[in-house]
Symmetry: C2
Subunit: 248 residues, 2 copies
Amino acid sequence: MLSAMTNVIAAPTFRPLYDQIKILLTQSLVAGEWKPGEAIPSEVELAARFGVSQGTVRKAIDELAAENILVRRQGKGTYVASHVEDHARFRFLRIHADTGNTIYPKSEFLACKRDKASPLVARALELRPGAPVHMIHRRLLFSGKPLVLDEIVVSAVLCKGLSSTQLNEYNGSLYSFFESRYGLRMIRAEERLTAVAADDKAASILEVAPGTPLLAVNRIAFTYGDKPVEWRRGLCHTDGHSYVNELG
Amino acid sequence: MLSAMTNVIAAPTFRPLYDQIKILLTQSLVAGEWKPGEAIPSEVELAARFGVSQGTVRKAIDELAAENILVRRQGKGTYVASHVEDHARFRFLRIHADTGNTIYPKSEFLACKRDKASPLVARALELRPGAPVHMIHRRLLFSGKPLVLDEIVVSAVLCKGLSSTQLNEYNGSLYSFFESRYGLRMIRAEERLTAVAADDKAASILEVAPGTPLLAVNRIAFTYGDKPVEWRRGLCHTDGHSYVNELG
DNA sequence: GAGTGGTCTAGACCACCCC
DNA sequence: GGGTGGTCTAGACCACTCT
Protein backbone atom coordinates (compact mmCIF):
# COMPACT_ATOMS: atom_id res chain seq x y z
CA MET A 1 0.00 0.00 0.00
CA LEU A 2 1.39 3.36 -1.05
CA SER A 3 0.66 6.75 0.40
CA ALA A 4 1.08 10.32 -0.76
CA MET A 5 1.14 11.39 2.86
CA THR A 6 4.46 9.89 3.89
CA ASN A 7 5.60 13.47 4.35
CA VAL A 8 3.76 14.33 7.54
CA ILE A 9 6.64 15.82 9.49
CA ALA A 10 8.71 18.45 7.73
CA ALA A 11 8.53 16.95 4.26
CA PRO A 12 9.47 19.60 1.75
CA THR A 13 8.28 17.97 -1.46
CA PHE A 14 4.98 16.48 -2.49
CA ARG A 15 5.02 13.40 -4.71
CA PRO A 16 1.67 12.45 -6.23
CA LEU A 17 0.74 8.79 -6.02
CA TYR A 18 0.64 8.37 -9.79
CA ASP A 19 4.20 9.64 -9.92
CA GLN A 20 5.31 6.94 -7.53
CA ILE A 21 3.43 4.35 -9.58
CA LYS A 22 5.22 5.67 -12.66
CA ILE A 23 8.56 5.13 -10.96
CA LEU A 24 7.59 1.61 -9.93
CA LEU A 25 6.50 0.77 -13.46
CA THR A 26 9.73 2.18 -14.86
CA GLN A 27 11.73 0.09 -12.41
CA SER A 28 9.92 -3.03 -13.59
CA LEU A 29 10.75 -2.08 -17.17
CA VAL A 30 14.43 -1.55 -16.37
CA ALA A 31 14.51 -4.84 -14.48
CA GLY A 32 13.10 -6.53 -17.57
CA GLU A 33 9.97 -7.80 -15.86
CA TRP A 34 8.12 -7.01 -19.11
CA LYS A 35 10.07 -7.07 -22.36
CA PRO A 36 9.60 -4.83 -25.42
CA GLY A 37 6.57 -5.90 -27.40
CA GLU A 38 5.00 -7.71 -24.45
CA ALA A 39 1.83 -6.70 -22.64
CA ILE A 40 2.02 -5.40 -19.09
CA PRO A 41 -0.67 -6.41 -16.57
CA SER A 42 -4.10 -4.84 -16.94
CA GLU A 43 -4.98 -1.61 -15.20
CA VAL A 44 -7.22 -3.28 -12.62
CA GLU A 45 -4.52 -5.84 -11.88
CA LEU A 46 -1.88 -3.15 -11.38
CA ALA A 47 -4.29 -1.12 -9.26
CA ALA A 48 -4.73 -4.15 -6.99
CA ARG A 49 -0.99 -4.81 -6.87
CA PHE A 50 -0.16 -1.24 -5.84
CA GLY A 51 -3.22 -0.74 -3.65
CA VAL A 52 -4.48 2.31 -5.53
CA SER A 53 -7.49 3.03 -7.70
CA GLN A 54 -7.58 2.26 -11.40
CA GLY A 55 -7.69 5.99 -12.16
CA THR A 56 -4.34 6.52 -10.50
CA VAL A 57 -2.73 3.69 -12.46
CA ARG A 58 -4.31 5.13 -15.60
CA LYS A 59 -2.70 8.49 -15.06
CA ALA A 60 0.72 6.89 -14.56
CA ILE A 61 0.32 4.80 -17.72
CA ASP A 62 -0.98 7.85 -19.61
CA GLU A 63 2.26 9.68 -18.96
CA LEU A 64 4.45 6.72 -19.87
CA ALA A 65 2.44 6.36 -23.07
CA ALA A 66 2.96 10.07 -23.82
CA GLU A 67 6.70 9.45 -23.47
CA ASN A 68 6.48 6.57 -25.96
CA ILE A 69 7.59 4.10 -23.32
CA LEU A 70 4.29 2.23 -23.27
CA VAL A 71 1.69 1.81 -26.00
CA ARG A 72 -2.02 1.49 -25.28
CA ARG A 73 -4.22 -0.66 -27.48
CA GLN A 74 -7.90 -0.42 -26.80
CA GLY A 75 -9.57 -3.70 -26.11
CA LYS A 76 -6.26 -5.55 -25.99
CA GLY A 77 -3.96 -4.17 -23.33
CA THR A 78 -0.96 -1.96 -22.68
CA TYR A 79 2.34 -2.95 -24.29
CA VAL A 80 5.99 -2.11 -23.84
CA ALA A 81 6.99 0.03 -26.82
CA SER A 82 9.40 -1.60 -29.22
CA HIS A 83 11.49 -0.48 -32.16
CA VAL A 84 10.83 -3.84 -33.80
CA GLU A 85 7.24 -2.95 -34.58
CA ASP A 86 6.68 -1.49 -38.01
CA HIS A 87 5.21 1.83 -37.00
CA ALA A 88 8.12 2.59 -34.69
CA ARG A 89 11.01 1.32 -36.77
CA PHE A 90 12.00 4.76 -38.02
CA ARG A 91 10.70 6.82 -35.14
CA PHE A 92 13.89 8.84 -34.86
CA LEU A 93 14.51 9.29 -38.57
CA ARG A 94 13.80 12.88 -39.57
CA ILE A 95 15.12 12.86 -43.12
CA HIS A 96 12.26 12.88 -45.60
CA ALA A 97 11.94 13.37 -49.35
CA ASP A 98 10.67 16.79 -50.42
CA THR A 99 8.14 15.05 -52.63
CA GLY A 100 6.32 13.87 -49.53
CA ASN A 101 6.85 10.20 -50.35
CA THR A 102 8.06 8.29 -47.32
CA ILE A 103 10.55 5.80 -48.65
CA TYR A 104 12.64 4.14 -45.98
CA PRO A 105 16.38 3.98 -46.50
CA LYS A 106 18.57 0.96 -47.03
CA SER A 107 21.59 0.46 -44.75
CA GLU A 108 25.08 -0.39 -45.95
CA PHE A 109 27.53 -1.20 -43.20
CA LEU A 110 31.01 -0.09 -44.20
CA ALA A 111 32.89 -1.03 -41.07
CA CYS A 112 32.51 -2.09 -37.45
CA LYS A 113 35.65 -2.00 -35.38
CA ARG A 114 36.63 -1.96 -31.74
CA ASP A 115 37.96 1.35 -30.55
CA LYS A 116 38.66 3.41 -27.46
CA ALA A 117 36.27 6.14 -26.37
CA SER A 118 37.55 9.60 -27.28
CA PRO A 119 37.20 12.24 -24.57
CA LEU A 120 34.24 13.71 -26.48
CA VAL A 121 32.42 10.39 -26.77
CA ALA A 122 33.33 9.38 -23.24
CA ARG A 123 31.74 12.53 -21.85
CA ALA A 124 28.62 12.05 -23.93
CA LEU A 125 28.18 8.40 -22.94
CA GLU A 126 29.35 8.84 -19.36
CA LEU A 127 32.25 6.44 -19.83
CA ARG A 128 35.86 6.89 -18.85
CA PRO A 129 38.07 8.11 -21.72
CA GLY A 130 39.63 5.09 -23.43
CA ALA A 131 36.81 2.74 -22.46
CA PRO A 132 36.21 0.00 -25.05
CA VAL A 133 33.60 0.88 -27.64
CA HIS A 134 32.35 -0.26 -31.01
CA MET A 135 32.53 2.20 -33.87
CA ILE A 136 30.16 1.54 -36.74
CA HIS A 137 30.37 3.23 -40.12
CA ARG A 138 27.38 2.97 -42.36
CA ARG A 139 25.78 4.58 -45.36
CA LEU A 140 22.07 5.11 -45.90
CA LEU A 141 20.60 5.00 -49.39
CA PHE A 142 17.30 6.71 -50.13
CA SER A 143 15.79 5.34 -53.33
CA GLY A 144 19.26 4.12 -54.21
CA LYS A 145 20.95 7.50 -53.64
CA PRO A 146 23.63 7.60 -50.92
CA LEU A 147 22.53 10.51 -48.73
CA VAL A 148 23.71 9.79 -45.20
CA LEU A 149 27.06 8.74 -43.76
CA ASP A 150 26.85 7.70 -40.12
CA GLU A 151 29.53 7.20 -37.51
CA ILE A 152 27.99 5.38 -34.56
CA VAL A 153 29.57 4.60 -31.20
CA VAL A 154 28.24 2.27 -28.51
CA SER A 155 29.88 0.82 -25.44
CA ALA A 156 31.55 -2.55 -26.10
CA VAL A 157 30.42 -3.65 -22.65
CA LEU A 158 26.77 -3.20 -23.51
CA CYS A 159 27.12 -4.69 -26.99
CA LYS A 160 29.40 -7.68 -26.64
CA GLY A 161 30.54 -9.36 -29.82
CA LEU A 162 29.11 -6.79 -32.20
CA SER A 163 30.37 -7.37 -35.73
CA SER A 164 29.85 -6.28 -39.28
CA THR A 165 28.49 -9.64 -40.33
CA GLN A 166 25.83 -9.57 -37.61
CA LEU A 167 24.75 -6.12 -38.70
CA ASN A 168 24.62 -7.12 -42.34
CA GLU A 169 22.62 -10.24 -41.61
CA TYR A 170 20.05 -8.43 -39.53
CA ASN A 171 17.02 -7.20 -41.37
CA GLY A 172 15.57 -4.08 -39.79
CA SER A 173 16.51 -0.78 -38.23
CA LEU A 174 19.64 -0.42 -36.12
CA TYR A 175 17.64 0.32 -32.99
CA SER A 176 15.51 -2.78 -33.42
CA PHE A 177 18.78 -4.68 -33.75
CA PHE A 178 20.10 -3.28 -30.47
CA GLU A 179 16.78 -4.05 -28.86
CA SER A 180 16.42 -7.66 -29.95
CA ARG A 181 20.11 -8.53 -29.73
CA TYR A 182 21.15 -6.72 -26.54
CA GLY A 183 17.89 -5.70 -24.89
CA LEU A 184 18.96 -2.08 -25.36
CA ARG A 185 15.90 0.07 -25.87
CA MET A 186 16.28 3.69 -27.04
CA ILE A 187 13.72 5.91 -25.39
CA ARG A 188 14.63 9.37 -26.57
CA ALA A 189 17.47 11.25 -28.22
CA GLU A 190 19.01 14.70 -28.36
CA GLU A 191 20.28 16.06 -31.65
CA ARG A 192 22.43 19.06 -32.51
CA LEU A 193 22.59 20.12 -36.14
CA THR A 194 25.15 22.20 -37.96
CA ALA A 195 26.13 22.79 -41.57
CA VAL A 196 29.58 21.62 -42.66
CA ALA A 197 31.55 21.17 -45.86
CA ALA A 198 32.16 17.62 -47.10
CA ASP A 199 35.75 16.47 -46.59
CA ASP A 200 37.37 14.18 -49.15
CA LYS A 201 36.36 10.97 -47.44
CA ALA A 202 32.72 11.91 -46.91
CA ALA A 203 32.55 13.33 -50.41
CA SER A 204 33.68 10.09 -51.98
CA ILE A 205 31.34 7.95 -49.91
CA LEU A 206 28.36 10.22 -50.56
CA GLU A 207 29.38 10.68 -54.20
CA VAL A 208 29.48 14.46 -54.09
CA ALA A 209 32.15 17.06 -54.74
CA PRO A 210 34.44 17.87 -51.81
CA GLY A 211 33.20 21.03 -50.11
CA THR A 212 29.53 20.28 -50.75
CA PRO A 213 27.45 21.59 -47.84
CA LEU A 214 26.22 18.76 -45.63
CA LEU A 215 23.92 18.60 -42.65
CA ALA A 216 25.88 17.36 -39.63
CA VAL A 217 23.56 15.63 -37.18
CA ASN A 218 25.03 14.82 -33.78
CA ARG A 219 22.91 12.55 -31.68
CA ILE A 220 23.00 11.10 -28.20
CA ALA A 221 20.38 8.40 -27.61
CA PHE A 222 19.13 7.44 -24.15
CA THR A 223 17.62 4.32 -22.66
CA TYR A 224 15.51 3.96 -19.51
CA GLY A 225 16.44 6.33 -16.73
CA ASP A 226 18.03 8.82 -19.13
CA LYS A 227 21.13 6.72 -19.48
CA PRO A 228 23.10 7.71 -22.63
CA VAL A 229 24.01 4.63 -24.65
CA GLU A 230 24.69 5.74 -28.21
CA TRP A 231 26.70 8.55 -29.73
CA ARG A 232 26.28 9.28 -33.38
CA ARG A 233 27.45 11.74 -36.00
CA GLY A 234 25.59 11.74 -39.30
CA LEU A 235 26.56 13.64 -42.42
CA CYS A 236 23.61 14.17 -44.70
CA HIS A 237 23.59 15.29 -48.28
CA THR A 238 20.23 17.07 -48.40
CA ASP A 239 19.54 16.62 -52.07
CA GLY A 240 15.80 16.51 -52.66
CA HIS A 241 15.46 15.69 -48.97
CA SER A 242 15.34 17.63 -45.73
CA TYR A 243 15.39 17.22 -41.99
CA VAL A 244 11.77 17.64 -40.93
CA ASN A 245 10.87 18.98 -37.53
CA GLU A 246 7.69 19.96 -35.78
CA LEU A 247 7.76 22.81 -33.24
CA GLY A 248 5.03 22.61 -30.60
CA MET B 1 -26.21 20.27 -22.36
CA LEU B 2 -23.96 18.14 -24.48
CA SER B 3 -24.16 14.45 -25.08
CA ALA B 4 -21.79 11.81 -26.35
CA MET B 5 -24.81 9.80 -27.40
CA THR B 6 -26.16 12.03 -30.17
CA ASN B 7 -25.29 9.20 -32.49
CA VAL B 8 -28.11 6.82 -31.58
CA ILE B 9 -29.27 5.92 -35.07
CA ALA B 10 -26.55 4.85 -37.50
CA ALA B 11 -23.81 7.14 -36.26
CA PRO B 12 -20.49 5.92 -37.62
CA THR B 13 -18.10 7.91 -35.44
CA PHE B 14 -17.79 8.33 -31.71
CA ARG B 15 -16.77 11.73 -30.36
CA PRO B 16 -15.89 11.87 -26.68
CA LEU B 17 -17.47 14.68 -24.70
CA TYR B 18 -14.12 16.19 -23.74
CA ASP B 19 -13.29 16.39 -27.43
CA GLN B 20 -16.42 18.42 -28.07
CA ILE B 21 -15.56 20.68 -25.14
CA LYS B 22 -12.10 21.11 -26.61
CA ILE B 23 -13.63 22.26 -29.88
CA LEU B 24 -15.93 24.70 -28.09
CA LEU B 25 -13.00 26.14 -26.13
CA THR B 26 -10.96 26.50 -29.31
CA GLN B 27 -13.85 28.30 -30.98
CA SER B 28 -14.00 30.77 -28.10
CA LEU B 29 -10.27 31.34 -28.48
CA VAL B 30 -10.55 31.94 -32.24
CA ALA B 31 -13.49 34.27 -31.65
CA GLY B 32 -11.34 36.22 -29.23
CA GLU B 33 -13.61 35.67 -26.22
CA TRP B 34 -10.42 35.31 -24.16
CA LYS B 35 -7.27 37.09 -25.33
CA PRO B 36 -3.65 35.91 -24.98
CA GLY B 37 -2.44 36.39 -21.45
CA GLU B 38 -5.94 36.50 -20.00
CA ALA B 39 -7.49 33.89 -17.71
CA ILE B 40 -10.32 31.71 -18.97
CA PRO B 41 -13.23 30.86 -16.61
CA SER B 42 -12.54 28.34 -13.85
CA GLU B 43 -13.07 24.64 -14.38
CA VAL B 44 -16.22 24.50 -12.27
CA GLU B 45 -17.64 27.48 -14.11
CA LEU B 46 -16.95 25.92 -17.51
CA ALA B 47 -18.37 22.60 -16.31
CA ALA B 48 -21.60 24.39 -15.37
CA ARG B 49 -21.69 26.28 -18.67
CA PHE B 50 -21.30 23.13 -20.76
CA GLY B 51 -23.37 20.92 -18.48
CA VAL B 52 -20.63 18.35 -17.89
CA SER B 53 -18.55 17.31 -14.91
CA GLN B 54 -15.38 19.10 -13.88
CA GLY B 55 -13.36 16.03 -14.80
CA THR B 56 -14.47 16.25 -18.39
CA VAL B 57 -13.56 19.93 -18.63
CA ARG B 58 -10.23 19.08 -17.01
CA LYS B 59 -9.41 16.51 -19.67
CA ALA B 60 -10.22 19.01 -22.45
CA ILE B 61 -8.04 21.68 -20.83
CA ASP B 62 -5.29 19.12 -20.20
CA GLU B 63 -5.01 18.47 -23.93
CA LEU B 64 -5.06 22.15 -24.86
CA ALA B 65 -2.34 22.74 -22.25
CA ALA B 66 -0.29 19.90 -23.75
CA GLU B 67 -0.57 21.69 -27.12
CA ASN B 68 0.72 24.91 -25.53
CA ILE B 69 -2.54 26.67 -26.29
CA LEU B 70 -3.50 27.13 -22.64
CA VAL B 71 -1.31 27.41 -19.56
CA ARG B 72 -2.39 26.16 -16.16
CA ARG B 73 -1.25 27.92 -13.01
CA GLN B 74 -2.09 26.16 -9.80
CA GLY B 75 -4.01 28.24 -7.33
CA LYS B 76 -4.54 31.02 -9.88
CA GLY B 77 -6.35 29.80 -12.95
CA THR B 78 -5.95 28.74 -16.56
CA TYR B 79 -4.58 31.28 -19.02
CA VAL B 80 -4.41 31.74 -22.76
CA ALA B 81 -0.80 31.13 -23.80
CA SER B 82 1.03 34.19 -25.08
CA HIS B 83 4.32 34.86 -26.80
CA VAL B 84 4.59 38.11 -24.85
CA GLU B 85 5.39 36.30 -21.64
CA ASP B 86 9.05 35.86 -20.91
CA HIS B 87 9.22 32.10 -20.76
CA ALA B 88 7.52 31.75 -24.16
CA ARG B 89 9.25 34.53 -26.05
CA PHE B 90 11.72 32.26 -27.78
CA ARG B 91 9.67 29.09 -27.76
CA PHE B 92 10.38 28.34 -31.41
CA LEU B 93 14.07 29.32 -31.40
CA ARG B 94 16.22 26.22 -31.66
CA ILE B 95 19.62 27.81 -32.21
CA HIS B 96 21.73 27.54 -29.08
CA ALA B 97 25.36 28.17 -28.23
CA ASP B 98 27.49 25.04 -27.91
CA THR B 99 28.74 26.37 -24.57
CA GLY B 100 25.30 25.81 -23.12
CA ASN B 101 24.79 29.47 -22.32
CA THR B 102 21.36 30.63 -23.41
CA ILE B 103 21.87 34.12 -24.73
CA TYR B 104 18.95 35.49 -26.68
CA PRO B 105 19.65 37.14 -30.01
CA LYS B 106 19.23 40.76 -31.01
CA SER B 107 17.14 41.56 -34.10
CA GLU B 108 18.20 43.92 -36.87
CA PHE B 109 15.52 44.63 -39.43
CA LEU B 110 17.12 45.24 -42.81
CA ALA B 111 14.01 45.75 -44.87
CA CYS B 112 10.23 45.41 -44.89
CA LYS B 113 8.56 45.81 -48.23
CA ARG B 114 5.24 44.98 -49.86
CA ASP B 115 5.44 42.18 -52.35
CA LYS B 116 3.34 39.64 -54.23
CA ALA B 117 3.16 36.06 -53.05
CA SER B 118 5.33 33.75 -55.13
CA PRO B 119 3.73 30.44 -56.14
CA LEU B 120 5.82 28.70 -53.48
CA VAL B 121 4.77 31.06 -50.68
CA ALA B 122 1.17 31.17 -51.90
CA ARG B 123 0.89 27.41 -51.67
CA ALA B 124 2.44 27.35 -48.20
CA LEU B 125 0.17 30.10 -46.86
CA GLU B 126 -2.93 29.01 -48.77
CA LEU B 127 -3.14 32.32 -50.65
CA ARG B 128 -3.62 32.88 -54.35
CA PRO B 129 -0.35 33.50 -56.22
CA GLY B 130 0.27 37.23 -56.41
CA ALA B 131 -1.69 38.01 -53.25
CA PRO B 132 -0.30 41.01 -51.35
CA VAL B 133 2.24 40.11 -48.70
CA HIS B 134 4.88 41.74 -46.54
CA MET B 135 8.44 40.52 -46.92
CA ILE B 136 10.70 41.15 -43.95
CA HIS B 137 14.46 40.79 -44.01
CA ARG B 138 16.25 40.66 -40.73
CA ARG B 139 19.49 39.61 -39.16
CA LEU B 140 19.93 37.99 -35.75
CA LEU B 141 23.02 38.67 -33.69
CA PHE B 142 24.07 36.21 -31.01
CA SER B 143 26.46 37.85 -28.54
CA GLY B 144 27.10 40.43 -31.23
CA LYS B 145 27.89 37.91 -33.96
CA PRO B 146 25.59 37.90 -37.01
CA LEU B 147 24.52 34.27 -37.31
CA VAL B 148 21.06 34.23 -38.87
CA LEU B 149 19.59 35.90 -41.94
CA ASP B 150 15.81 35.60 -42.12
CA GLU B 151 13.40 36.19 -44.95
CA ILE B 152 9.89 36.32 -43.51
CA VAL B 153 6.60 36.53 -45.41
CA VAL B 154 3.15 37.26 -43.96
CA SER B 155 -0.10 38.17 -45.64
CA ALA B 156 -0.57 41.93 -46.02
CA VAL B 157 -4.27 41.43 -45.32
CA LEU B 158 -3.57 39.99 -41.88
CA CYS B 159 -0.83 42.51 -41.07
CA LYS B 160 -2.06 45.84 -42.35
CA GLY B 161 0.37 48.72 -42.29
CA LEU B 162 3.42 46.71 -41.28
CA SER B 163 6.59 48.75 -41.61
CA SER B 164 10.26 48.72 -40.78
CA THR B 165 9.91 51.54 -38.27
CA GLN B 166 7.21 49.67 -36.34
CA LEU B 167 9.39 46.60 -36.18
CA ASN B 168 12.41 48.58 -35.06
CA GLU B 169 10.47 50.40 -32.38
CA TYR B 170 8.99 47.23 -30.93
CA ASN B 171 10.90 45.64 -28.11
CA GLY B 172 10.44 41.88 -28.03
CA SER B 173 10.24 38.81 -30.23
CA LEU B 174 8.64 38.94 -33.66
CA TYR B 175 5.84 36.62 -32.60
CA SER B 176 4.98 38.72 -29.60
CA PHE B 177 4.84 41.66 -32.01
CA PHE B 178 2.39 39.86 -34.30
CA GLU B 179 0.36 38.86 -31.28
CA SER B 180 0.06 42.25 -29.61
CA ARG B 181 -0.19 44.26 -32.83
CA TYR B 182 -2.43 42.03 -34.97
CA GLY B 183 -3.85 39.45 -32.58
CA LEU B 184 -2.01 36.80 -34.58
CA ARG B 185 -0.97 33.96 -32.29
CA MET B 186 1.43 31.30 -33.54
CA ILE B 187 0.50 27.89 -32.14
CA ARG B 188 2.90 25.55 -33.85
CA ALA B 189 5.34 25.42 -36.77
CA GLU B 190 6.81 22.98 -39.23
CA GLU B 191 10.45 23.27 -40.21
CA ARG B 192 12.48 21.65 -42.97
CA LEU B 193 16.26 21.92 -42.75
CA THR B 194 18.88 21.56 -45.43
CA ALA B 195 22.53 22.52 -45.84
CA VAL B 196 23.36 25.12 -48.47
CA ALA B 197 26.34 27.22 -49.56
CA ALA B 198 26.27 30.94 -48.80
CA ASP B 199 25.64 33.08 -51.88
CA ASP B 200 27.31 36.47 -52.20
CA LYS B 201 24.49 38.42 -50.59
CA ALA B 202 24.06 36.11 -47.59
CA ALA B 203 27.84 35.90 -47.20
CA SER B 204 28.21 39.66 -46.95
CA ILE B 205 25.34 40.05 -44.50
CA LEU B 206 26.55 37.19 -42.31
CA GLU B 207 30.18 38.29 -42.71
CA VAL B 208 31.43 34.94 -43.97
CA ALA B 209 33.17 33.81 -47.15
CA PRO B 210 30.88 33.01 -50.09
CA GLY B 211 30.35 29.26 -50.23
CA THR B 212 30.41 28.81 -46.47
CA PRO B 213 28.03 25.99 -45.49
CA LEU B 214 24.87 27.37 -43.89
CA LEU B 215 21.87 25.76 -42.27
CA ALA B 216 18.76 26.61 -44.29
CA VAL B 217 15.69 26.54 -42.05
CA ASN B 218 12.34 26.72 -43.83
CA ARG B 219 9.40 27.31 -41.57
CA ILE B 220 5.65 27.52 -41.87
CA ALA B 221 3.95 28.77 -38.71
CA PHE B 222 0.30 28.11 -37.92
CA THR B 223 -2.32 29.86 -35.83
CA TYR B 224 -5.55 28.43 -34.35
CA GLY B 225 -7.22 25.81 -36.50
CA ASP B 226 -3.97 24.92 -38.28
CA LYS B 227 -4.17 27.99 -40.47
CA PRO B 228 -0.73 28.80 -41.98
CA VAL B 229 0.11 32.46 -41.50
CA GLU B 230 3.87 32.85 -41.77
CA TRP B 231 6.43 31.56 -44.22
CA ARG B 232 10.07 31.91 -43.36
CA ARG B 233 13.47 30.99 -44.71
CA GLY B 234 16.41 31.35 -42.36
CA LEU B 235 20.06 30.98 -43.23
CA CYS B 236 22.16 30.17 -40.22
CA HIS B 237 25.89 30.32 -39.84
CA THR B 238 26.41 27.58 -37.27
CA ASP B 239 29.62 28.88 -35.78
CA GLY B 240 29.85 27.79 -32.16
CA HIS B 241 26.11 27.25 -32.30
CA SER B 242 23.76 24.50 -33.40
CA TYR B 243 20.14 23.71 -34.01
CA VAL B 244 19.03 21.72 -30.99
CA ASN B 245 16.29 19.16 -31.21
CA GLU B 246 14.77 16.60 -28.91
CA LEU B 247 13.44 13.34 -30.34
CA GLY B 248 10.70 11.73 -28.25
C1' DG C 1 -10.56 31.98 4.33
C1' DA C 2 -12.09 31.76 -0.27
C1' DG C 3 -11.06 30.34 -4.77
C1' DT C 4 -8.29 27.91 -8.07
C1' DG C 5 -6.10 23.97 -10.01
C1' DG C 6 -4.36 19.03 -8.64
C1' DT C 7 -5.06 14.38 -6.71
C1' DC C 8 -7.58 10.28 -5.60
C1' DT C 9 -11.48 7.34 -5.23
C1' DA C 10 -15.48 4.17 -6.48
C1' DG C 11 -18.55 3.02 -9.56
C1' DA C 12 -21.22 2.98 -13.91
C1' DC C 13 -21.17 2.43 -18.54
C1' DC C 14 -19.19 2.43 -23.47
C1' DA C 15 -16.09 0.96 -27.38
C1' DC C 16 -13.11 -2.39 -28.97
C1' DC C 17 -10.91 -7.03 -29.51
C1' DC C 18 -10.95 -11.90 -29.42
C1' DC C 19 -12.78 -16.27 -28.42
C1' DG D 1 -19.44 -13.15 -23.37
C1' DG D 2 -15.64 -11.76 -20.98
C1' DG D 3 -11.63 -8.96 -20.81
C1' DT D 4 -9.26 -4.64 -21.85
C1' DG D 5 -8.78 0.13 -22.35
C1' DG D 6 -11.71 4.64 -22.63
C1' DT D 7 -15.22 7.87 -20.93
C1' DC D 8 -17.91 10.22 -17.52
C1' DT D 9 -19.58 11.27 -13.03
C1' DA D 10 -19.84 12.99 -8.07
C1' DG D 11 -17.60 13.84 -4.31
C1' DA D 12 -13.77 14.30 -0.97
C1' DC D 13 -9.65 16.26 0.04
C1' DC D 14 -4.94 18.50 -0.88
C1' DA D 15 -1.71 22.22 -2.57
C1' DC D 16 -1.21 26.71 -3.98
C1' DT D 17 -2.22 31.86 -4.39
C1' DC D 18 -4.02 35.98 -2.98
C1' DT D 19 -6.34 38.96 0.12
